[in-house]
């Protein structure tokens, strides 16, 4: 057990070190979602969006929940990228030829991605605060938002890692990634409530786990516990199923790749 911890700690610190060496990239990783979506997109549609339809005081406060979950989505889907490069340049083989527990590398990646995502979510909520969006459920609500984000993130990161272990080239990986990410966002309640969508889109969006996550995060920010709790209970159930499926697929891909 002490060995296991030593391995995970060293491997997680490697991801942290890498990020800290790429200061420029780190800054953009942290800033990009709130800059593009929250500040630009949010303010752009501030007056175009109908607050009656949104059922929110303004568009930014409506959008905040969407941007939080979008960040979880993008970080999760990109979570396997570094393992992909490790696989391609042989670093992964080097790691796997050492007497480490086979799951250490993967677990270190989960820990790292979850930590970075949580930090970003806090930054987004902080910036929203500056635009006058105060989470209705307070600190405990923020903690719940982080928890939901992590539950969603685990499954997404597992999908990403499964892809990293399965694809033949990293070109394939990024094609699939680009193809997955935007439809997931448009076919969810991130930018527009389901009630305001064309019928076929809102129909599809119901099957998007992202919609469930957003529907729980949004009342935590806008309304309060009374309205949020049923959604939070529901999203926990949905995510349990989602994570189980993704982890099962990820474990299978990992076992196939690692012999």
């Amino acid at each position: 057990m002490a060995h296991y911890w030593q391995e995970i700690n060293a491997l997680t610190m490697r991801w942290v070190r890498r990020l800290s060496r790429e200061k420029f990239s780190m800054l953009f990783t942290l800033v990009q979602p709130m800059l593009f979506w929250l500040i630009f997109f949010g303010n752009l549609f501030q007056r175009a969006a109908d607050t009656q339809v949104m059922q929110a005081p303004n568009y930014i406060s409506f959008l905040a929940a969407g941007v939080v979950v979008m960040t979880v989505l993008n970080n999760g889907l990109a979570g396997g990228v570094d393992l992909l490069f490790d696989k391609e340049n042989g670093f992964l083989e080097r790691l796997m030829s050492t007497p480490i527990h086979r799951t250490s590398v993967i677990l270190s990646r989960f820990i790292f991605v979850m930590a970075i995502t949580s930090m970003q979510v806090l930054v987004i909520l902080g910036v929203s605060y500056l635009f006058g969006v105060y989470p209705a459920t307070g600190i405990l609500g923020v903690a719940t938002i982080l928890f939901i984000g992590m539950m969603f993130g685990v499954g997404l990161t597992a999908i990403s890692m499964a892809m990293a272990f399965s694809v033949k080239s990293h070109g394939d990986f990024f094609s699939v990634l680009g193809f997955l990410s935007l439809p997931m966002i448009f076919l969810s309640s991130a930018l527009v409530p389901l009630t305001a969508m064309p019928g076929w889109m809102s129909f599809l969006a119901q099957f998007n786990p992202m919609t469930w996550a957003i529907d729980a995060v949004r009342p935590l920010i806008l309304s309060g516990w009374a309205e949020a709790l049923p959604h939070v209970g529901m999203v926990v159930l949905v995510m349990l199923v989602f994570d189980a499926l993704c982890l099962y697929g990820g474990a299978k891909a990992f076992r196939r790749a690692m012999g």
Binding site: R14, R18, R21, N89, G90, E93, G259
Partner: protein
Amino acid sequence: MDRTIAIDVSRLCKSYDSHKAVDDLSFQVYAGEIFGLLGPNGAGKSTTLRTLITLLHPTSGRATIMGYDSVREADQVRTVIGYVPQERAIDRFLTGREHLQLLGALYHLTKEEAAKRIGELLKLVELEAHADRPAKTYSGGMKRKLDIACGLLPDPKILFLDEPTLGLDVQSRLRIWEYVRMLKARGMTVVMTTNYLDEADRLCDRLAIIDGGKIKTLGSPAELKIALGGDIVALTLKEANRIPLLESDLIDRPAIKTVKATAKGLDIRVESPEKALPTILESANRLGCDIEFIQYNRPRLDDVFIAHTGRAITESAPEVESE
């Protein structure tokens, strides 16, 4: 010779779908030797190596490393081996020292143990001055040195090198060879793959020539060359009518294996040129055969390779025939 067996490979097969990458391979590696797997790209060298370092499970057959089974006792195997991958398996953003520290933790060394060993290794591969720079600033040769230091960090009984000098300049190659010889002198067993004939010839104690997933021949470079029939001394005589006289005189002399008359002289296969040349010259002198030209050919490993695989190593392996 009774030598300790470090690696025992028995009837190893590895198939991908219908393609047999490794086909019924059996060989042994002795403790303390440099053992080479020589073959063209796609011959099955790397597949064999990856099986030995526990990264691949054989389809059938087995391999034991220091007595441990590569599948059932993979964890024990991993504690006695070091691995230097073929690709530059370097994290560009980490410094040389951080690479070694990371591996130190993965081999479960304490901070003090790791620091001591890392100091020694950096000195060994002459990277002390660059240890705290990110690896992206390293030259190809320096990256290779770091690779090797990483492979040596666990203080392994057996070091596996996958194409250790692929794409390196001449000086760096010679440097790497020096390290490998030094490790052998320290008692380490080294297993390496290569597709450079000169590397196999000059570095390996024994080598297996692999092609199409099968071992074509196995032995020391000298044995393999002798097996081809030894060195050839070709004589051209001034007077062709003297050829039969000299031929009959040289047959059955010590150090001379065969004598064959050619149009202008003789092709003489010899066991060792040092012993045969004086005999040949003495005979020619005594019989009054003036020699116009004398040429000495030593079979090279290229010749061994061609003799066993039917083509030069630079020619790529033929596509797998569909049967």
